[in-house]
């Protein structure tokens, strides 16, 4: 069967020499280069493109641009598929594959259409009301509902495309390249200001591309455009971005724009680029959307917006139908009638709700011999997959009903116009308030928090001349405000139809009096009818935000671009209120749907998050280490030999450190260089213990508290010289501690002479520990006396190790004799390799963070962030010894003295020894006093650390238990999913409690 073509003989901005093949719902079609999917479908006479969301009614294309509510398609196949694309915005490319959504199994024979017959049973709130019972069944319903009502499918696998983000700055960002935006960009650009002009369409021009009845400077608008655009493109500081939707206006001139790849660009280019723009001035030339009229069966395929009918003819050379009636409340739709006539399309009737339409456009239409039915409205329509006819009747004087006889007019298309709604989305997003304009029947921009100026259609100015003048003035002013001198230029002369005032008929009466308005569609995308709005009002959902959520009007991918004003107006009618009294909902970004990939950008895969490695990392890798993430750091966890389990590897590493010598990469510890005359006084204030009398060359362990008395960080700090200290922090706390110290210096104690510098990464640290560590170090370091007398525990010496200048610290996190060797990072790997080589004959064994944990847990040394969680005091940890009683103040002293922190039943650090010596209790397990068969049980604490200890030959655990210190020797229970572990409370030290080994 040959399809009838709706392509006109001439006109349009399409390339008739370049056919483009595409596939829709499995059928092959041909369009032309320059078509959108929508225009190509219309050219091929395809009028049915979608099923409606709830009732599965047949739907066709309604609009020309981003406001399209019906024609949502699934575009592409495989992992590159994208749902919810508006056919009106898809540029036709060779091989394009698209499919309609929300239908099953076929668009023409959709089973869900049964819902349409059931529509009286599916009112607003139906899902909320019906699927609440029985309780807990929602999850079962949801699965089924989503399948039936789904808006497209997500791709099954990773997106094959890539996305970019770009920061940009400008003096003036102009949103929209219609007449107002072009004039604004030209005026601002001429002044030398940095200007970005962004438009969502493939070429600049906006409505000027569609209007063949406007002349500028004596030429048709579309012919006048190229010279202006060439001027703009010649300006070095002006950037024109097409296919770019400004989808968010945020605080302080921050805007987000989504730029789409042009069809002719290859997949090497990002599919979308998310621009993050900081603009000194913003000009909102976003235009206006035409809105439909609300009448019975106003959703049939073939019923379209009047401006869209005009646009398809002038821009794409496609007529949506062969017999097109017009139904309107304003003059603008008369332009559509004239365009249709000019292109030889039959216009059987113009139905105007106004009783006495008058003016040049009306005269022109009458002069063309067209029938104008003034004071009439469409009372009903017929046709299932395509409009067949309309029935019109004369409106009663008050517009509440019909009089006279009904007349049926056959037509395949109805061009509808209920007026224009300025696209105030961005203005409103930026915190702008809106004011109702009665004449226009729309909300207009009012006050704004931003440096944003609405112009043209967005500001309610509908004439081309007005748009050009407003844009011109605003562009110049914005450039001036941004510091650029305006350069005068004449305004173009415009010849266009003048229009008289529109009228507003928010609800066309039902065809038969008293019938519910159940087929008067307000929101096509969400299948919301005037009856639903009435129902919401009856049920008390009169707040505009409740109305939106209860009926779902204005939700979904089009966010009510065509429906909002009609819904508000109908609510106003029901409530007997004016529209400003009803108010409007909040506009939120994004303006049109955006691919999530654009927001991820390149922050994926290996670039998702930085992985920090130490200087010794290549050695760890080469020697088969397994790694664990500690914050962003990648630390060697343990070094399994072939065939070894983790437990076996860790046991071996721990034993070597206790019996011979172990080697740990401790480079990640935070390190801060502290200089200044008040350095010791400063440490005295931030640590709980005393620092004033520490001798140069000696080191001390310190605990930092928050002002609330809770443990925040710990580490060893060494006095390098009278006025200089080397502080270490935990690996995870390095950044926060530096910031915290800097905050105190700058905000509370600016009088202190103290300078802080992070040197965390300047130093690579290899820690030797174990009874043979001194012997090993002695083989590589000859310029430092390593004897216990000359180099005691908790001191520091400078010297060379393996020929590398080093700072050697005698501190211990293992309980063994230990030397932490610090060298510049560049030498870290060389030092490590030298230690490994020299240590081999002594039984040296590199160990990872897991063995480090076991070693310190055996000694009962805490790890901040493991034994503590921001609610633990030094007293809870049994570390009273480090809290100075003599100092009058330090950060946290007063907090620590709060009544509640002195209670005896606080959680205290204890050891736990499982009764079964094979049972390693999981970390995080809850400790209870009495086990019951099922929760709840009274929890008295939790396990913070738990390991198998090869040194003790049994599992050990640390735990925070309520009043734990008084429970030593008692048995507690730890209920797990599969068993209950009994454990005896012990002191939190399991090995060498006196600390003799590390002092030796």
């Amino acid at each position: 069967m040959r399809r009838r073509s709706n392509r006109l003989e001439k006109g349009g901005r399409i390339d008739r020499t370049r056919p483009v093949r595409f596939r829709f719902d499995g059928r092959d079609f041909e369009g032309l280069s320059g078509d959108t999917l929508a225009s190509a479908l219309l050219a091929n006479g395809v009028s049915l493109v979608a099923r409606s969301f709830k009732y599965h009614r047949p739907r066709g294309i309604v609009a020309l641009g981003a406001e399209e509510p019906n024609a949502l398609v699934q575009c592409g196949i495989g992992n590159g598929t994208t749902p919810n694309q508006r056919a009106t915005r898809i540029e036709l490319t060779d091989g394009l594959i698209a499919a309609s959504q929300n239908r099953w199994p076929l668009l023409r024979a959709d089973i869900g259409a049964i819902n349409s017959l059931l529509s009286p049973l599916l009112p607003a709130g139906f899902y909320y009301k019906t699927f609440m019972w029985p309780p807990g069944w929602w999850l079962r319903y949801e699965h089924w509902i989503r399948r039936v009502a789904g808006l497209g499918r997500a791709p099954p696998g990773p997106d094959p495309d890539h996305y970019r983000q770009v920061h940009a700055h400008c003096d003036v960002l102009v949103v929209g390249a219609g007449p107002a935006g072009l004039a604004a960009a030209a005026a601002a650009g001429r002044s030398g200001a940095r200007v970005i002009l962004a438009d969502e369409q493939p070429e600049p021009g906006g409505s000027l591309l569609d209007e063949d009845d406007v002349e500028i400077d004596g030429r048709p608008a579309a012919d006048w455009l190229p010279a202006l655009i060439a001027d703009l493109q010649a300006m070095p500081e002006l950037t024109v971005l097409t296919r770019t939707t400004v989808n968010g206006l945020h605080d302080h001139g921050f805007l987000t724009m989504l730029q789409h790849r042009a069809p002719h660009e290859g997949s090497g280019r990002p599919r979308c680029t998310l621009w993050k723009v900081r603009a000194r001035q913003v000009i909102l030339a976003t235009g206006a959307h035409e809105r439909p009229l609300v009448f019975s069966d106003n959703d049939r395929p073939g019923i379209m917006l009047a401006s869209a009918v005009r646009g398809y003819i002038t821009r794409y050379g496609v007529t949506p139908g062969r017999r097109v009636a017009v139904f309107c409340s304003n003059d603008d739709a008369y332009r559509t009638a004239l365009v249709l006539v000019r292109h030889g399309v039959e216009v059987p009737a113009i139905v105007d709700v106004r009783a006495n339409p008058a003016g040049p456009l009306v005269d022109a239409v009458r002069a063309a011999g067209l029938a104008v039915h003034a004071g009439h409205a469409v009372a009903g329509t017929a046709g299932w997959h395509r409009l067949r006819s309309i029935t019109i009747r004369k409106l009663s004087g008050d517009g509440q009903g019909f009089t006279g006889r009904r007349r049926t007019i056959s037509c395949d298309t109805l061009a509808v116009s209920g007026g224009w709604t300025p696209a105030v989305h961005l203005f409103s997003q930026g915190g702008g308030s809106l004011a109702w304009d009665e004449a226009l029947g729309a909300f207009l921009p009012d006050a704004t928090l931003q440096q944003a100026t609405p112009v043209g259609g967005c500001a309610g100015t509908m004439s081309v001349a007005g748009c050009l003048a407003e844009g011109h003035a605003a562009g110049g002013a914005a450039a001036r405000t941004a510091g650029h001198e305006e350069i005068e230029a004449p305004l173009p002369r415009v010849l266009e139809h003048s229009q008289s005032l529109p009228d507003h008929l928010w609800t066309v009466p039902p065809g038969r009096p008293g019938r519910p308005l159940a087929k008067h569609f307000v929101d096509f995308q969400n299948d919301v009818t005037a009856a639903d709005v009435h129902l919401a009002a009856r049920e008390g959902y009169t707040s505009v935000e409740h109305l939106k959520r209860y009926t779902t009007t204005g939700m979904g991918t089009d966010q009510g671009k065509t429906s909002n004003i009609n819904a508000l107006a109908i609510m106003g009618e029901v409530l007997g209120s004016d529209i400003p009294g009803v108010g409007h909902t909040t506009f939120r970004p994004p303006y049109t749907p955006a691919a999530i990939g654009a927001y991820a950008g390149r922050t994926i895969g290996t670039l998702f998050d930085p992985v920090r490695t130490t200087a010794m990392d290549p050695w760890h890798r080469a020697h088969g280490a397994t790694f664990e993430h500690v914050g962003q750091w990648m630390r060697a966890w343990y070094y399994p030999r072939p065939g070894e389990s983790m437990r076996q590897a860790v046991d071996r590493e721990v034993t070597a450190a206790r019996e011979a010598v172990g080697l740990l990469d401790a480079s990640t510890l935070g390190k801060i260089d502290i200089q200044g005359a008040d350095a010791a006084e400063f440490l005295n204030r931030v640590y709980t213990n005393s620092w004033l009398r520490l001798q140069p060359g000696r080191a001390r362990y310190g605990l930092m508290l928050g002002e609330d008395g809770m443990v925040m960080d710990d580490g060893v700090t060494t006095r390098l010289a009278e006025n200089r200290f080397h502080m270490t922090t935990t690996t995870g706390g390095a950044g926060t501690v530096l910031d915290w110290l800097e905050e105190w210096l700058q905000t509370e104690w600016p009088d202190l002479d103290v300078r802080l510098t992070s040197v965390t990464e300047h130093w690579a640290v290899a820690a030797l520990c174990g009874p043979r560590s001194r012997e090993l170090l002695g083989r590589l370091c000859t310029d430092v006396d390593l004897s216990a007398e000359a180099f005691p525990f908790m001191s520091m010496r400078e010297g060379t190790v393996a020929g590398i200048p080093a700072r050697i610290f005698r501190i211990s996190f293992s309980g063994e004799i230990s030397f932490e060797i610090n060298v510049r990072r560049r030498h870290g790997l060389a030092l490590w390799e030298a230690l490994v080589a020299a240590g081999e004959p002594l039984g040296l064994c590199p160990y990872g963070t897991e063995a480090m944990h076991v070693l310190r847990a055996e000694k009962g040394f805490i790890i901040v962030g493991q034994e503590t969680d921001g609610t633990v005091t030094p007293i809870d940890l049994g570390m009273d010894w480090i809290v100075s009683k003599a100092k009058t103040d330090f950060i946290g002293k007063r907090g620590l003295a709060r009544r509640d922190l002195l209670a005896p039943d606080r959680k205290q650090l204890v050891g736990l020894l499982s009764e079964d010596p094979r049972d390693v209790i999981p970390e995080g397990a809850q400790v209870v006093e009495t086990v019951r068969s099922r929760p709840p049980m009274t929890m008295i604490g939790h396990v913070t650390s738990s390991y198998h200890s090869p040194t003790c030959g049994r599992p050990i655990a640390l735990a925070l238990v309520k009043g734990g210190r008084s429970m030593v020797g008692e048995t507690v229970s730890i209920p797990l999913a599969d068993r209950v572990v009994g454990a005896v409370v012990s002191e939190p030290r399991f090995f060498d409690p006196e600390g003799e080994r590390m002092h030796g």
Binding site: Q165, R278, L607, T613, D617, P618, R824
Partner: protein, 198 residues
């Protein structure tokens, strides 16, 4: 002097072992400026003693205008804060300078190995940086001698413009350098990336 010069010096980008090369007409060129000396100075710029010592040892007074750096005799002095500067020296010159400054009583810290410097240059350098850096790098607001501390992607970076090619030095903590290097090659991929030996 000890024989540590004989020890292998390893930089964070050495570890990536990126082979030099790439198209001649590449949009960007990247190179690690290996093992530069870096000293962090703290002091009051209005204190004449401090200024004199810095002038005498470094050869130039520290810039007091924020977001600026000065170049002198292969050294760069970068403003980091109202009492904080970074002196970047050719490899090996940091030790002598450190001693001279410390002898003059300046609070100075050797941070040579805290970070490394990546030189990014080429006609598309600005566009590459714009993909991850929120600074306005347009010549009207950022030019040779401009410096700023900010973020590139997910990494804190100090950058300063060294020439009009344009060329930028990017100072980044060692442990983040590999990430930044990878990020630059990714962001520049569309324009062609040339890697030069350090």
């Amino acid at each position: 002097m000890a024989d540590h010069g004989a020890q292998a010096c390893v930089t964070p980008i050495d570890v990536l072992a990126t082979p030099p090369g790439g198209p001649r007409d590449a949009g960007i060129t990247i190179r690690e400026r290996r093992l530069l000396g870096k000293l962090l100075l703290r002091g009051d710029p209005h204190d004449t003693d401090f200024n004199d010592i810095v002038q005498r040892t470094v050869g130039t007074a520290p810039p007091i205008t924020p977001n600026r750096c000065v170049f002198h005799d292969a050294l760069a002095v970068i403003w980091l804060g109202p009492d904080e500067w970074l002196v970047v020296t050719p490899p090996g010159r940091e030790d002598g300078l450190l001693d001279a400054l410390a002898a003059g009583g300046v609070a100075v810290t050797d941070v040579s190995d805290q970070s490394t410097v990546i030189r990014l240059s080429g006609p598309r350098a600005r566009e590459v940086l714009a993909q991850g850096c929120a600074l306005d790098l347009h010549p009207r607001s950022f030019s040779v001698g401009s410096a700023a501390q900010s973020r590139i992607g997910r990494v804190r970076t100090t950058l300063w413009q060294v020439d009009d090619r344009p060329g930028y030095d990017l100072l980044v903590s060692c442990s983040f350098a590999a990430w930044l290097w990878t990020w630059l090659t990714d962001a520049g991929g569309e324009f062609g990336v040339r890697v030069e030996a350090g």
